[in-house]
Symmetry: C2
Subunit: 278 residues, 2 copies
């Protein structure tokens, strides 16, 4: 019997016990043996939410220290301030596999209740969601039936690239940008991502610069900041990631995540390294 | 005798003593009695640089916990990882004024040597510095001789807004964006900002939304992330700050800082609150 595990199950934590939460980097979330960073951050964020006593992440920043492999992890949390509206928590995600504890990621986040936002406050939006073919018609699914080289990770998420941005068929768009749909396979077309799923969405897509002619094979993250702007409505999310500056061995990736009602639900930026050419 | 104090002097720290650096929020860096956030972050960053053993901040994220007033502060630092290329440090900036120690800001940063970047690596830039009148011709200087309502802070920095973006004369541009020059008065037109000065530049401008018709008087920062992409060349910096999403009581401000050679030297994003209308 095959048990289909879900994102929520695979990012669960228990505790705390003497201030430490415990979780597990589960098999199948890796890219070439290293767990996806957004997935590791999701585990840590669940512990930080619990420590904060608030339902939602509002802004989370992770510094990526080391690659993580399958096995037990700890999340050591510390509440820096618990205020009326927000609580700020810092945490280290620590590998407990092997003899030596090794920090994989160091995180700071501010948590609150997104439902308490005043939605009739003045709003101003000067951008629109990315244009995408309908979800069902997006066949450039990473890890889909036609894709035999995709990493394991791409089978745990349902990530469908805009056909014009898909380098999967060997054609680069020439622009350091990627548009696509994102959800989890277990949610189908109607399920709703939780805010931690939004954070996963902001670090799940392939590197933007795979669409331009730069001699790079991998783009390690130094730092990722994700803002959760609202809880999403049901259904897959429209995402766009863009890089404007590849300079001095660094690049940024700016992300936007929009829900099915056309509302911006998350915004992200990561600083990544352009490994030196060989 | 009037002594002209400089940004470098006013952000200096000493120590560490039992793991704590000490500094001082100096008079004159406030806006209505509260020290500017970028200035407080600059003090903390100096301590973190020392703790990291590396010359430059690469990416720094601060969560703003409480307003800070004039007086002694501590910076409690902890090196999370010291690697070959980077060191990651977290810190709390703590007010030591009064009987109770109170955290003002919690920060995480990754530090390295910006000179070690390989400048002949492939580069890709799809944006240009903001167009500005020459520095000398930019007369819309906050805190300049014609400005009697500017906060004290605006006299410690030399911040000159693009005339089209300057709401100082009561005309809003209608776009949630601000362009302008930034340096410190003590540097004149030839002096060079250090990387900590770049971080100050990313949280020194008035709120972008002062240029649109929203009923707001203040925009408290929740979180600021600044990436230092290169050490700047001598001379004032061209800056642009833009907001695209005011939603659910939150807004982001995206900043770019360019040096006199037309190189992007810093990039920033902050998440701020749109206080509820009264």
């Amino acid at each position: 019997m095959t048990t289909v595990r879900t994102f929520v199950q695979d990012t669960a934590v228990r505790g705390p016990d003497n201030g430490r939460y415990r979780g597990e980097i589960q098999p199948g979330w890796d890219i070439g043996g290293n767990a996806n960073g957004g997935y590791m951050l999701a585990i840590a964020t669940r512990a930080m939410i619990d420590a904060s006593g608030r339902p939602d992440p509002v802004t989370v920043t992770a510094h990526y220290l080391r690659p993580g492999g399958v096995g037990p992890v700890g999340v050591d949390t510390e509440v820096v301030k618990s205020g009326k509206r927000f609580a700020t928590v810092r945490a280290n995600l620590i590998s407990l596999a092997g003899d030596t504890e090794r920090p994989l990621m160091s995180i700071i986040g501010t948590f609150g209740d997104l439902d308490s936002s005043v939605h009739n406050d003045p709003e101003l939006v000067t951008a629109a969601p990315p244009e995408l073919p309908p979800f069902a018609e997006c066949t450039h699914r990473m890890g889909g039936s036609g894709d035999t080289v995709a990493p394991d990770f791409s089978r745990r998420v349902d990530l469908r690239l805009h056909p014009d941005d898909s380098f999967l068929d060997g054609r680069k768009s020439g622009k350091a940008s990627l548009r696509g749909w994102f959800t989890f396979p277990e949610l189908g077309t109607e399920g709703t991502l939780d805010p931690v799923g939004l954070i996963q969405a902001t670090d799940a897509f392939p590197p933007t610069i795979f669409n331009v002619d730069l001699p790079v094979a991998w783009v390690p993250t130094v730092e990722l900041t994700s803002h959760v702007r609202a809880r999403p409505a049901p259904g897959p999310l429209r995402c766009v990631f863009t890089t404007r500056f590849v300079t001095g061995g660094f690049l940024e990736e700016d992300g936007e995540v929009w829900d099915s009602t056309g509302r911006l639900v998350a915004q992200s930026r990561q600083l990544a390294l352009l490994p030196r050419s060989v």
